[in-house]
Amino acid sequence: MNFKLKDIGPQLITVLAVVLVFGFFTYNAQVNMENRGIDFGYGFLSQESSFDVQFSLIEYDGSHSYFRAYLVGLLNTILVSVIGIVLATILGVIVGIARLSPNYLINKFAAFYVEFFRNIPLLLQIFFWYFAALRALPLPQDAEPMLGISYLTIKGLYVPAFIWQNFNIFFYSVVAAIIAIIVIRTYAKKVQENQGKQAPVLLISIGLILILPLLSFLIGGVKLSFEIPVLKQLATTSFIYEGGVSLPPELIALALSLSLYTATFIAECVRAGIQGVGKGQKEAAASIGLNPNQVLKLVVMPQALRIIIPPTTNQYLNLTKNSSLAAAIAYPDLVLVFAGTALMQTGKAIEIVSITMFTYLTLSISISILMNWYNKKIAIQEK
């Protein structure tokens, strides 16, 4: 009995303390809000927001509700995070491998990149890419066309829009190609395991992913045309491009700085992972006749990934949370739209900040769960 109390006692006290502190803050907030005549409630979410947002993935204007404005901000946060994560991963893996290159120039260049970008505060980098680089970009009327169809200007990047006919047939053809590739790969692996014969899987895969969609154009009735941006004059010295798709410079600057910054950390994770694989593993692989490519792909990488994934997950989480610095350069993310404008217009500080915190928590936990699942999948499977 005494033993049990000794075990549970401190824990009970801790729980009690947590509940007390939490209760006190809630009570205190309630009393103060009441004293100052502030109402508490989430009813404002269905009210008309009456402010516009620069850039939105879903249809939105000021006549929609605050909840819709919240979705706009959330989707913009997810968009820049996904772009950032993809770019940072590609760049990070390349730089990480480059840092291990025996080539002096490549090696030192990668090292310089990592040390330079990870040691400058992210907010400064965002300001640099937005304000310094933005000023260097041409005005719309002075922009030189890239490939004759795209324009990078101070007001954003204008690219042609795709206009599809029978898009669903094209889509199915791509899906069919992917399924076919998976089937062939599995089959080829089986053949190799049973008979030791290797099939040119890569060539077949490339062929499939090109030929099937091509067929959809030839016989499926799919048509693709482009809408090329056209210069339009607003006033004597004020121009924009109309038509096509425009990416705001805020999105470009934010995605660029987030991925350049986070890629340095991912590069270090990759380097650590590869160096963490025993030298004997590589030598053993080489001694049974695998070429350097196969050594990396079949022996080193599967083991290195186990070291790389957990710290890289942290970097993905950091990138997602860092995207909230968007407010500084007017990219309409969750913090700017919802915890910024919406908070100001409604004055519902506690409600909005709590929703925003909960949203970031959910986003981060989702990324964690996904990465943990992948980590488990590639972990050593004891048989």
Partner: protein, 346 residues
């Protein structure tokens, strides 16, 4: 056993601390703000992060501006010294939270008085120290001379967290023009982006435009369009629930405006004590008991006029002489064709 004792003590201490906080929140409801201010020895005032003419700090950290003068007037009234003010620079987004959470006691930060702000979020507006309206700034080279020349696709830079965002939508919607809003958190970044050519127009209160124009690389390249698209009465704000403090701030501002009306300036205030006009005598503390209701002495208003000056002096010093808006426009006294009109001190 000793181990538990330690934990228990810390717990008891914690609960005790929490309890004192709670009881303090519950007690002291009657002009807590005035009492706290006199105890601290300075007025806690929220201002902008730098808007010339309204609230702007120089290199040495000295704040000037007509919004700053409201806080100085309150300090002169309740503490006897116009310099006993602690200024907290706030972004548009932070300002109301800072006030309602008790971090500052007066918000004097070019803040528009609107119904929803006054009614909803625990704030009380005490008056108007500047009548403003939203306008647009464009580059001279664009050839635009009126908002009627705006076309679909125009991009407009502005701040978040202001009435500007809402007015902008109302304006462009009523004209049926599609536009691209580019909203930044800080005014400096709005200026930088507009200056770089990111936006075709920069929209905020006209006084703000006039002030920010001075920060452009080349101020002469920009003009403020003549149209005014909204009413923006700017004024000081206090927390709801302390009516004595609210009255002190309101009448400090009213005193400045009324002093101008009766020709009382920082220079002649003392000699006005012997004036024949009882209204003037009341304004310099020589007649009646004008401070008692606030719990202040009788010369609180005299100190405001002597140390800060009347509204006209403040306007001239901060806005006219700095070249921001030499013409007082609606911010002239009602007796001189403006709309400044305050209730009488009596």
């Amino acid at each position: 056993m000793f181990k538990y004792l330690k934990q228990l003590t810390s717990l008891v201490a914690m609960v005790a601390v929490l309890f004192t906080f709670t009881t303090e929140t519950m007690a002291a409801k009657k002009s807590k703000t005035l009492k706290n201010t006199q105890k601290k020895g300075f007025v806690r005032c929220g201002v902008s992060q730098g808007l010339p003419g309204f609230s702007n700090a120089d290199a040495a950290g000295n704040w000037t501006g007509i919004d700053v003068d409201v806080c100085r007037a309150v300090a002169a009234a309740v503490l006897g010294d116009a310099n006993k003010v602690k200024f907290t620079p706030l972004s548009a987004k932070e300002r109301f939270t800072a006030l309602t959470s008790g971090e500052i006691d007066i918000l004097s930060r070019n803040t528009t008085w609107t119904l929803s702000r006054d009614a909803d979020i625990g704030l009380t507006f005490v008056g108007v120290n500047f009548y403003d309206g939203q306008g647009f700034m464009v580059r001279k080279s664009s050839g635009i001379t009126s908002t009627s020349q705006f076309k679909d696709g125009i991009s407009a830079c502005t701040n978040i967290g202001t009435t500007t965002e809402l007015n902008m939508r109302d304006f462009f919607n009523s004209k049926g023009i599609s536009y691209e809003p580019v909203a930044f958190e800080k005014a400096d970044e709005v200026v930088a982006a507009y200056d770089a050519g990111r936006c075709d127009t920069y929209t905020t209160d006209k006084s703000g435009l006039a002030a920010q124009r001075t920060k452009m690389t080349n101020p002469d390249d920009h003009i403020v369009l003549p149209e005014t698209v909204s009413k923006e009465p700017l004024g000081p704000v206090v927390r709801q629930g302390d009516s004595v403090w609210e009255d002190i701030v309101r009448w400090s501002l009213n005193t400045m405006i009324e002093a101008e009306e009766y020709g009382i300036t920082s220079a002649n205030a003392d000699s006005m004590k012997t004036s024949d006009n009882p209204q003037i005598k009341r304004l310099v503390g020589a007649e009646g008991e004008m401070g008692a209701a606030f719990g202040l002495d009788n010369e609180w208003n005299l100190r405001i006029i002597k140390q800060v000056g009347n509204y006209g002096e403040s306007y001239k010093r901060n806005i006219a002489d700095t070249g921001i808006l030499p013409d007082r426009g609606p911010n002239e006294l009602w007796t001189k064709g403006g709309i400044l009109y305050v209730p009488p001190s009596r």
